[in-house]
């Protein structure tokens, strides 16, 4: 297992380097640059050119890429063209915020979806199943921003129980930090729980008709043991894949919820940096997302082995 993880980690390096080339090229091929942002809408071309020169953006792309990669190799992500803050500080503040939100939403989604999915599969075509399916349809159909605003209206404006937005670092004030987390996490979590519930239900329905489940029942095992130990464990394999994918998607894709709740996450950071053409921030942010996404994939693969002993990491997946 250790050798497998090491090999997979080494394999990440060329993927990250390839991603860096793509991110760099795509960003520089898009019209506009930070010099235009700094100089403003009415700047004459000679002023924009002077600002561009000062920023070093008039140098050949290969030179700029080499310089950027060299700096990264030395652990220096550079400085934002717009704010002049070290990129490591910007990314270092935004990533934990997004991770906190994403993890909270995923935990909530799993807490909702596992029992709902299992119950719906056990009571297939019952009223309960219909209610669960209705919940998943609603969860998938309701836009995030709408649900977010609705929750703010109810819990912040009408009931005054929770803050309408902003993030307080829980390490600074745990109680207020958790309060600021509840509404955005619920907004994200409800939508994801709808996806997970459907997957759990479908996977369980397939597994419940397998021979080994029938055998377990025939052996007289209690229903709870049959469902939890035999059926659910196997059904979780495809669910873990979806959890991994959702985790990766949410890291950069929670931007709508981040905007509604003024949550200073990585999605908002990157979107704003793209608007300003703040190359160094976008590049570092996207590379960070690629790296985290690859790590999540690796963790997902490792989870498979725990859930299904037939999967041998070293042999089948290397």
């Amino acid at each position: 297992m250790g050798a497998y993880i090491l090999r997979r980690l080494l394999q990440l390096i060329p993927v990250v380097v390839m991603s860096s080339v793509l991110v760099f090229l795509l960003l520089h091929l898009v019209p506009g640059d930070p010099a235009e942002t700094v100089a403003g809408p009415d700047a004459t071309p000679d002023v924009v050119a002077a600002v561009r020169h000062k920023m070093g953006l008039d140098q050949p792309l290969a030179v700029q890429y080499g310089r950027w990669l060299g700096n990264i190799a030395r652990g220096d992500l550079g400085t934002s063209y717009i704010s002049h803050l070290p990129v490591i500080d910007l990314v270092g503040y935004a990533f934990p915020a997004t991770l906190q939100l994403t993890l909270a939403a995923l935990v909530l989604a799993l807490v909702i979806s596992l029992p709902l999915g299992v119950l719906a599969s056990l009571k297939q075509a019952s009223k309960l199943d219909l209610v669960v399916q209705g919940y998943t349809a609603l969860g998938l159909g309701v836009p995030n921003f709408w649900l977010g605003i609705l929750l703010i209206l109810v819990f912040a404006l009408f009931l005054g129980l929770l803050p309408p937005g902003g993030r307080i670092d829980p390490t600074q004030n745990l109680a207020i930090g958790l309060k600021t987390l509840i509404l955005p996490a619920v907004t994200l979590g409800i939508q994801i729980s709808a996806v997970f519930t459907r997957f759990v239900r479908t996977a369980m329905l397939e597994v419940l008709h397998e021979d080994y489940v029938r055998t377990a029942r025939a052996k007289g095992l209690p229903e709870r043991v049959v469902v939890v130990r035999h059926a659910l464990r196997s059904a979780l394999v495809p669910v873990v894949t979806v959890v991994g994918l959702q985790f990766g998607r949410l890291l950069g894709g929670a931007v709508v919820v981040e905007s509604v709740f003024a949550w200073p996450g990585v999605g908002r950071l990157i979107i704003q940096a793209v608007e300003q053409r703040d190359y160094t921030v976008v590049q570092a942010g996207l590379l960070g997302l690629v790296a985290v996404f690859l790590l999540i994939n690796l963790m997902t693969d490792i989870m498979y082995a725990f859930l299904d002993p037939r999967i041998r990491l070293g042999a089948g997946m290397g």
Binding site: G32, D42, T44, A50, V51, H53, I152, P163, G165, G166
Partner: protein
Amino acid sequence: MGLGVPAVSGAQAVRKGGILRYAHGADVLNFDPAQLPAGNYAMLWTLYDTLIRFDPKYKATPQLAESWEFADGGKRLRMKLRKGVTFHSGRDFTAADVVFTLQRYQDKEVGAQFRTMSLYIKEAKAEDKHTVSFFMEKPNAAILDFFDSMFIVDKEAINDAKTKGVGTGPFRLVRWIPGDRVIWEKNKTYWKEGKPYIDGIEMLAIPDPSALAINIESGAVHIAERMPPTDLKRLQGNPTLDIIVGGIGNIWNVVLFNVKRPPFDNPKVRAAVDLAIDRQRFAQIYHAGFSKPACLPYPEFSPGYFADQASRCEFNLDKAKKLLNEAGISSLDVTMTIPSSDYSPGSDVLAQVMNADLKKIGINVKIETLAMAVARQKIVYAKDFQMAGHLYGRANKDPVTMFAGTTPFLTSCELNNTGYCSERFKKLVDEAAATLEPEKRKAIFREINELLLAEKFALPIAPNFLGFVKRKNVHGFAASLDGYGILEETWLA
């Protein structure tokens, strides 16, 4: 909140102390006052001071400059600076900082947004520690406009200007969490005695307009800046809130024609489109009635404004159709290029409003919406468009300032992005700049207006504004002429 000892300001008893929670729809991008992205508006007069400041009626009032006088027939401006003012760094503010700040605005590599205006000044000299003279090649009646926008920086702290801005303003920067909030504390040595009243500010970035509205409605914040007009309208009836419309006319919605290309090289076609724009409808839909449509490119308090000329455009589809026929055109396909709404708010609505009416006179409009950088390249630099919907700025002060710095109205043939080129236009604007007598200037502005109304290379539609909403318990808050929040006299009841 720890409210302090009551003081007296005007007729109302002022309560000192407390932390003001100020939310704005755009994030502070840095603390360099030479750059003016939307999110930086709130920090300008919080952190910095200017030499003079215009009041809402466009009257110059002393700030760091106590007094000023013109000499040498208007070619020299001498300012007496306030003594005993210190930067947040503890350094004394002197004339050398003023000279340095000006030179910084003039430096191409800084990319200052008001650089064009700063170039009116050929040289600045510190006569002594608290006297500075500005020398111009020729008189410029609009020169004070620049000093309302030149925020004085500490010349010895300039390397950190973007991240740690050091000014003389009423509040000092304590902490900046990009994308989240800026924490300010009261400048205890502020030169305006007894001010600011509040102990500090928490400035929050809330980009979602609905969330911004809920934050102010719920009382989570005291002031909300950059509230969209439709939300302003809705909140107008809320008894716990006050609506403040600031910066009216600083930015305008405009329709531009490329006068170098068919069909808009024909003045009759431009005039026909002008007649087919329902400005009133646009102002109602987009500005929710907070802004009035306009035919002249400046607001009512501008020296260039004349009521009779300002009402000289109309919405008349019959006349428009007739003009098109006179131009020998029965139907026409044109492309209207607009930047995305985050960069050019309202242009999308304007294009939709125009599209419906132009169809009625035989003009089919294809709306081309472009991202900010692409739009800027196409509309501003390459002049690669037929008709465009966009914004222009700096229209709320002297018209000369606008003609010097706003691309569709530039007198330079090379730089005007509509391609309009007229010796007469340039001569008139130069004359308006060099003439100091108000009455003579009025006559020149009337003539310029006639030219604009006749040539129609850029059609002003309606002035934009910055919508603020404050809680009733917030007093003394004001928006500057440009729409920047002024918090030095703000207090919480």
